[in-house]
Point group: C2
Chain length 220, copies 2
């Protein structure tokens, strides 16, 4: 019985890591969809979100099952509750990739991103990938020390978003209202994606150490 | 011991209801801040968010405590896990009110909302209040039937947001980039506030019936 229990706990971790992989793929494809007006990539992100949602549901079902049958306490209890939070964050990261893909789909065959902003958006996409890859690694290795780095990694994303907004607000910005809206929202979705990745890492710190990192927000 | 347990469960419900009250107050004041460029209201929303966060943390601590000491199963377990989700949604609703208040603060002493959009935004604020009040009522009365109404109540919010975006995209829209950004984001924050209220209601349905409502999203 104890063995099945620990197998189930491991399976929980495995599903979380799989979610980080899917979220990474989703944000990478969403960035392609956005920059290249690639409708196929956009559709793939939108329909692929089901897989992330299914894993989230499996984690929730597994948490119920573990709680009901094993009545875990102390560290195991913290692990299970924390896994539930991480799963929620990763599910939201998938949603943000979908929101970005939908901007691309709405503007197809045009690109929603004016050419002079492509490099900033590309970098935001890369930063988002970096954050989710790192979140996956710290979960896989239960590495609370590296997990603490994500907060400053995310500063880069916040800087990129501010740069994006400054460009929109500059007198040189000559694009229309639709572009202004699309870029504003896309910027926000990347930023939120990053926030959730930081939150996954913060939860890992709490899972491993029992201490909440400084500035830990109840929800990202 | 059993009595303390049920007292703690009741306290959990009481905290959730208190969170709906605070979230309602926050969104009402944020709407005032936005429409009237009322800096005092904006600051109040921003600093008041701590109270919502504290309740969320108390709920989380109480859930841990209940799990560890009482090892609940079946219905009680579902109640506790669901309360944790609701708390997360309500905490996010407070954050969205803060985001709106920060738009108001950034544009002070100007109003971020051009006069011709005031009535739409006011109506979005009222709809947000209606949704969170109703969410509080269904939680208080464990009323799964009324809870199912929130989804269509929220359609009204979605319609208002679409109306807002149509106005921004119309040829008559003569305001600058900054207004376009502010209105775009404010519209999204109201919409998200509504989504989370629906999610609280969906979770109440699940808590009471054990069945997830149609179109139940893992996270709002």
């Amino acid at each position: 019985m104890r063995d099945t229990y620990h197998e189930e706990l491991d399976a929980l971790g495995g599903r979380l890591i799989e979610m980080t992989r899917l979220a990474r793929h989703a944000i990478a494809r969403a960035t392609t969809a956005l920059l290249d007006a690639d409708l196929t990539a956009a559709q793939e992100v939108i329909s692929g979100d089901e897989d992330i949602n299914r894993l989230d549901e499996e984690i929730e079902a597994s948490v119920f099952d573990l709680m009901a049958r094993q009545q875990p306490v102390a560290t195991d209890l913290r692990t299970i509750i924390t896994a539930l939070h991480m799963s929620g964050d990763l599910e939201r990261m998938g949603d943000h990739a979908v929101h970005i893909a939908k901007i691309a789909r709405r503007r197809h065959p045009d690109s929603a991103i004016p050419s002079e902003l492509r490099s900033i958006v590309l970098e935001m996409g890369h930063q988002a990938e970096l954050l989710v890859i790192k979140a996956g690694e710290v979960v896989e290795n239960r590495d609370a020390e590296t997990a603490l780095e994500l907060d400053s990694d995310d500063d880069r994303m916040d800087k990129l978003r501010r740069k994006l907004l400054r460009r929109i607000l500059s007198p040189e910005w000559k694009h229309g209202v639709e572009s202004t809206m699309d870029v504003t929202l896309a910027g926000r979705f990347y930023e939120r994606f990053g926030d959730h990745a930081v939150h996954v890492a913060d939860n890992l710190v709490y899972m491993v150490t029992g201490e909440k990192p400084k500035d830990f927000e109840p929800e990202a």
